[in-house]
């Protein structure tokens, strides 16, 4: 059987499973549509939240990011797990007790203001939309590589599957499919890691292998020392020490953590369990399930970096492993023979005066059209030629994308075909589960908070569900459109945008809403608006309007500015509150009520 057939069987089976589950658990009422009826077990919700949380980008590129930047990538590892501590001890138990179905719903009721609700809806839609576009694109890319179809066609297939179970099944459908998706993802991620750890360190547990010894070759050396030696020899910075400034590292980690605690699609997942007690329990499960992947990512990154360099550096192109040729064909790796010796060389930025190691001019490789003459397509060693101009300022000849560390890992380690098929299925599961969770927040924000609470209050329960389905269809069409025609500069900045916005808008507003019973609507609205506008303008200025790095505020990159936006939100809100008096009596009572963890009232409409 060929690899394609096995891939097809694995992915086909997983899809049949997801859709089967979705059909069995179709939502009938708004309560089922928004919160799965509120009776999901903490354990199942933990798995579902983990799947919801880990996007295609986490699954595919995080290990690659760790491999390339070593210690510096810790900001993602800590940021995206540490946020769950904030989420659990500060947010979700109280929001669950409040018993509303969506995040804008809480903002609207707690701050007794339609305008506050409207601002929250806009933020929720914007955060989810930026995020979901990237997911749709990811699904399309994976499909197109697997089945040789065009990316637009792949995006459309992915979108239709998500619509079937998220649009029709609502939260109930999503929850149980996400449980299945988590299982696929966890196996797909850890099995290759275990194999490669055994091959390189003789340790079955990858996490022990990372701190253990490198056992390939004559003498055993500590693995991280081996990695540091390689890095320095080739002109990179030491793997275990970073080059990012401490303040920037601090701000980015903080922005990611606070952003995590303010992401609406993660928060609503905790509305599906029975009571406050189950929320706490479920959050602990969630983090444990997420940690399975996050603790493995640094090991995959480190192992595959050593593997990649050992296999490719100073190797004749004609003797290069077949997977290298395959990835060259799909445009995920590229080789430019700058010194015409027919060997692949990989070097870091410190090997040249120019201080870079870019292989060619521009960010990603550009290829000549396929109908170009053969002399432009294939080089003298049989390699694929690029249309991009070679960058002769440095000796580095090898380019690869960050997702290669996970995708090529099983090939590099020579793993059996079913492991590769499982990895493909896991990758698609990651993209679909996140897209579904986001789609649900998008559609409920529109149907519940915009249509029911602001535009047309007389909506019946059944009509509201139908509106939610229509909204999810429209949202998906828009997301698919942007997945097919990505505003390229935009998608790559998803992280900066989504987390920056969540950290500077929702996190402080929700936190003050819960812990400061006297915070009033003027403070909250002013805080939200100033936090968002500061963060958005900073990001837009530096990402799109050509702001230069030397203009950074305290040297903080746009990724970390959400943290400053958050501080601004807090201070503006507290300042405005000084002059506008306390929140009304009944709101203060409501807030006091949130802190009592007794039997929570089921979400009322």
């Amino acid at each position: 059987m060929s690899q394609d057939t096995i891939n097809f069987i694995f992915i086909g089976l997983s899809f049949a499973l997801y859709i089967g589950i979705a059909v069995r658990s179709r939502a009938e009422s708004t309560k089922e549509y928004y919160t799965a009826g509120g009776g999901v077990s903490p354990f199942a919700n933990g798995m579902a939240t983990a799947a919801d949380w880990m996007s295609a980008a986490t699954f595919i590129s995080m290990a690659g990011t760790v491999a390339i930047s070593g210690y510096d990538a810790s900001r993602f590892l800590m940021g995206w797990t540490g946020g769950f501590v904030l989420l659990t001890v500060l947010m979700v138990p109280y929001l669950r007790k409040f018993g509303k179905a969506t995040v804008p719903d809480f903002v609207g009721d707690r701050y007794y203001s339609k305008f506050a609700r409207f601002v929250a809806v806009i933020c929720a839609i914007f955060i989810c939309m930026t995020y979901i576009m990237g997911q749709m694109r990811g699904v399309g890319v994976v499909f197109s590589q697997l089945f040789g179809i065009s990316i637009p066609f792949g995006v459309i297939i992915g979108a239709s599957i998500v619509f079937v179970y998220a649009g029709l099944g609502g939260m109930k459908g999503i929850t149980y499919t996400q449980v299945a998706q988590y299982c696929v993802m966890a196996f797909a991620y850890t099995i290759p890691a275990i194999f490669i750890a055994m091959a390189m360190t003789g340790n079955v547990i990858p996490q022990l292998g990372l701190i253990g010894d490198y056992t390939v070759g004559e003498q055993t050396v500590p693995f991280l020392q081996k990695l540091n030696n390689i890095n320095i020899e080739l002109g990179f910075q030491e793997y275990t020490s970073g080059k990012m400034s401490t303040i920037n590292m601090f701000c980015i980690t903080a922005a990611l953590m606070c952003g995590t605690a303010g992401l609406p699609h993660v928060i609503v997942r905790f509305f599906t369990v029975k009571d406050v007690r189950s929320v706490r329990c479920s959050a602990a499960w969630t983090l444990s399930f997420i940690a399975v992947i996050y603790l493995t990512a640094p090991t995959i990154g480190a192992f595959s970096r050593v593997n990649l360099i050992e296999k490719l550096h100073e190797t004749n192109y004609t003797e290069a492993p077949t997977w290298f040729i395959d990835f060259e064909a799909t445009g995920q790796m590229a080789w430019v023979d700058k010194n015409n010796d027919g060997k692949i060389q990989y070097f870091g930025p410190t090997k040249s005066q120019a201080g870079t190691n870019s292989v060619f001019k521009g960010k990603s490789p550009v290829y000549p059209p396929s109908d170009a003459p053969n002399s432009q397509l294939i080089g003298s060693n049989g390699e694929r030629l690029l249309a991009s101009k070679a960058d002769f300022s440095n000796p580095n000849e090898l380019w690869f994308g960050t997702d290669i560390m996970v995708m090529a890992n099983p090939y590099m380690a020579g793993l059996p075909m079913w492991v590769i098929a499982l990895l493909m299925a896991g990758c698609i599961a990651a993209a679909l589960s996140t897209a579904a969770g986001l789609l649900l927040v998008l559609s409920t924000s529109i149907s519940h908070d915009l249509i029911k609470k602001i535009i047309k209050p007389a909506l019946s329960d059944r009509e509201e569900v139908n509106y939610a389905r229509i909204a999810s269809f429209v949202a998906l069409v828009v997301a698919a459109y942007f997945g097919i025609n990505p505003p390229s500069a935009f998608i790559a900045k998803t992280v900066a945008f989504a987390f920056g916005l969540a950290a500077s808008s929702f996190f402080p507003t929700l936190l003050m809403g819960i812990f400061s019973s006297k915070m009033n609507k003027y403070g909250a609205i002013a805080g939200m608006l100033s936090g968002i506008s500061f963060t958005v303008s900073y990001i837009v200025y530096f990402q799109f309007l050509g702001g230069q790095p030397d203009q950074y505020l305290f040297g903080i990159t746009p990724e970390g500015i959400g943290f400053v936006g958050m501080l601004l939100n807090f201070s503006v809100a507290l300042f405005v509150k000084l002059f506008t008096g306390d929140a009304p009596e009944y709101v203060q009572k409501m807030v006091a009520e949130i802190h009592i963890p007794s039997k929570s009232t089921q979400s009322q409409k």
Binding site: L77, R277, R280, C281
Partner: protein
């Protein structure tokens, strides 16, 4: 048993929350970022990994899980003490 001094409960809850957040800050920002260079030199390495580096890539995540498990345990105990635990 519904109204057994909600204020006392809220205060103890806040105490638990703040002390866990202090630990949270120490294991992530403290050990992983601010003090890591000092820890790398002065603390015993974990296996072959320098302590600060290991905290940033592995230890902090394990710490977060332990924090949440203790939160579940402490809060459930507090709820029971104040009579808020639900009879199932």
């Amino acid at each position: 048993m519904q109204d057994k001094d909600p204020l006392a409960h809220r205060l103890s809850c806040l105490k638990i929350t703040l002390s866990l957040l202090a630990i949270w800050f120490m294991v992530s920002f403290g050990a992983g970022i601010l003090l890591r260079d000092w820890l790398d030199v002065n603390f015993p390495s974990v296996g072959s990994a320098p302590f600060g580096f290991w905290m940033a890539q592995q230890g902090s995540i394990i710490g977060f899980i332990l924090i949440l498990i203790s939160y579940v345990y402490l809060m459930n105990r507090l709820d029971r003490k104040h009579g808020y635990s639900e009879e199932r």
